[in-house]
Amino acid sequence: MPELLMGNEAIARGALEAGIRVATAYPGTPASEIMATLMRFGPGAGVYAEWSVNEKVAVEIAAGAAYAGARAMASMKQMGLNVAADAVMSLAYIGVKGGLVLVVADDPGPHSSQTEQDTRLFARFAKLPVLDPSCPREAYEMTKYAFDLSETLGLPVIVRPTTRTCHACQDVALGTIPPRPPVPGFEKDPRWVIMPSLSARQHVWLNRQQRRAGEEFTNSPFNEVRLNSPAGVITSGLSYYYVTEAGEHLGVKLSLLKIGTPYPLPEKLVVNFLKQVERVLIVEEQEPVVEDQVIRLAWRHRLPVEIDGKHNGYLPREGEFNPDIVAAALARFLAIQPAGTPDRPGTPTLPARPPLLCAGCPHRGSFYAFKQAARDRKVILTGDIGCYTLGAAPPLEAMDTCLCMGAGLGLAQGLARVQPDTRLVAFVGDSTFFHAGLPPLVNAVHQQTPIVVVVLDNETTAMTGHQPHPGLATGTRQKKIDISQVARACGVETILTADPLNLEETLAVANQALAAPGPALVILRHPCPQVAKPAGRYQVDETACIGCHTCIKELGCPALRPDGNGVQIAATCTGCGLCSQICPVAAIEEVV
């Protein structure tokens, strides 16, 4: 009986069946459930699984295990690969002994990311083979195969699912999880010590492996050819299904080359296909990775085939594909009428519904207090990556910049250098603090740049689904790292702590930090109500409420709703009490 698995669960299962020993990851949408699954099922199967402090460390740990001949996997989102890039680029030259698979999930759209970068392009840049699954089933199969391929080539292999595979469920027929094979062990050898002379030699080897990988892929079951007509489609990853469905709806039978191995492209397979069609449309989400390689092959082999795709505007290079975009491109390619969609005119204007901080989110108190403290001063608030990025939205509007993990601390220092009359406050989450906040903190102290670092400590990595981080000890053998001790050891002199749901206390701390002469660090700690038990509930005393709507306008808590001239508190209230602290007539009280 097949099981209904999310793509990420299928990937984790594939890794377990492939006999991994070590699995590492840093949370990131849409990849997080891979590690969540390995955490659940890995230990029972003899797998060491950990949430690492960041992606670079995760890759290095997995690589270390692979140096000893064990199979290992590191999983992350596409921007995590940027953090790990230093390790990954060099690792390609050094190679591995045990199979090393990097699962890097892309997020076209983007749904929950800062960029729409295409990991297939990164793989090509790093000279590493990449597999592009079209569905959870294939993600499962590809993950298993990736370990064999990694050992055949002696290279790390990247598996690149996208959001619609990671967060899609499908029935998957599973194999068995075999017992772990013994680890061959690390053998001391100069091949593990990267030096310019070694790199020069290894670069030749690495380039040779590109050809080998391309040949390896020629007979791969993940690539599939169907010859039906002189008009053909070449497609990679999930787009394959959009093409087949559009073909069905349009009632056309096309020649098709499905690519599961976009880099290195299996040249023979592609050239043979191009020889048997007159025109092709290339359908791939994100960057024209396959398209550019196909155009080059066609030119090199002097093939008289017409190639349509992104380069001539048939398909966009930005955004996420869907069945409708692909169907329209296919219809245009075939010069036929696309299937119509029902027309229902007169749609009313709909409310925008952007994401928001949850009801009772402690970040709301942090932002509110710092905005208050900043009222009579010139202040820039730099932000970072996490739920708290949502503090940029009205009514809080408490974030002036957000760039990438940890960047708030660095940007603040640069701004402080050129705007000495402005106080710089850098908000950073607890998990982000450990991930990328330590080097910029050390820098600020060392250079004595007077920024205020505010660690929004909700005791979890909330945005990605509430994973742990080094500031907590969730396992029995973990040691909790105390943020204030870290700051003290780094030489921060002003270290303050408050509960962000206590506005008076938080405001006092904010004022104190803003008045401090050197770098200061404030820890605003309160657990995220999505993991901690709600404290209770609040209600509005209708007779006392004057209908000023201050609570709604200033806090924007989604549990607060205008009710005629009064305010209603919805059942989603978690009892944080912030609204009652700012009500000018004390009309909001705790339900006892």
Binding site: P30, A168, P323, A352, L356, L390, C557
Partner: protein, 192 residues
């Protein structure tokens, strides 16, 4: 059968789509779903695509092809109505979740227009005050179960009990009673 589930982050849409998927699988059907997980889950607009039956298609339903629209919020029903096929059916919770921006007056929320538009543009349109039934069952969080219960009246390819069992399997034991009640209330609300 293609079912589109729409609503607001936090309403339990992922559980609803998983439960339908698991029930279908139990019945021997193939399943593809696509869910909204990530930033939008924080009070944003979320949608799940659920595709059942032998299929060679991807996880996303093309516009104008869903057989059923299951909406846990009226404005979200409107937002995703384009996915419903011309003779498709819809099951819509009529209680609005007014976004903070609308509370602040920065964006409109014309509830009556929305409900009227839905009624006039969907052949088989069923309205339900689902949150009331959820509270009646014992928890506002059981809204998704009310909707699943009601959905079983729309000729699903599996019996109601299979769906209920699949949904309960995804929930901790201590909330089974409330959710079972919510499911039954939703089912009865639409029974003719």
């Amino acid at each position: 059968m293609d079912i589109l589930i729409a609503g607001v982050g936090g309403q339990g849409i992922i559980l609803a789509s998983r439960a339908i998927g698991a029930a279908a699988l139990k019945t021997g059907l193939q399943v593809r779903t696509a869910e909204t997980i990530g930033m939008a889950q924080r009070e944003g607009s979320v949608v799940s695509h659920v595709r059942l039956g032998p299929t060679t298609t991807g996880p996303l339903i093309p516009r104008g092809r869903a057989d059923i629209l299951l909406a846990l919020e009226p404005a979200e029903a409107c937002r995703y109505l384009g996915y419903l096929k011309p003779d498709g059916r819809a099951l819509i919770s009529t209680t609005p979740v007014v976004p903070v921006m609308a509370s602040l007056g920065a964006t409109p929320y014309p509830l009556d227009d929305i409900l009227g538009y839905l009624r006039n543009n969907i052949a088989g349109c069923h309205f339900l005050a689902a949150p009331d039934l959820a509270c009646q069952a014992g928890s506002h969080r059981a809204l998704n179960m009310v909707m699943l219960g009601a959905l079983t009246n729309l000729d699903l390819p599996f019996p109601a009990e299979t769906l209920l069992a699949a949904a309960l399997k995804l929930l901790p034991d201590r909330v089974h009673e409330v959710n079972r009640r919510a499911f039954q209330l939703g089912k009865q609300a639409l029974e003719v």
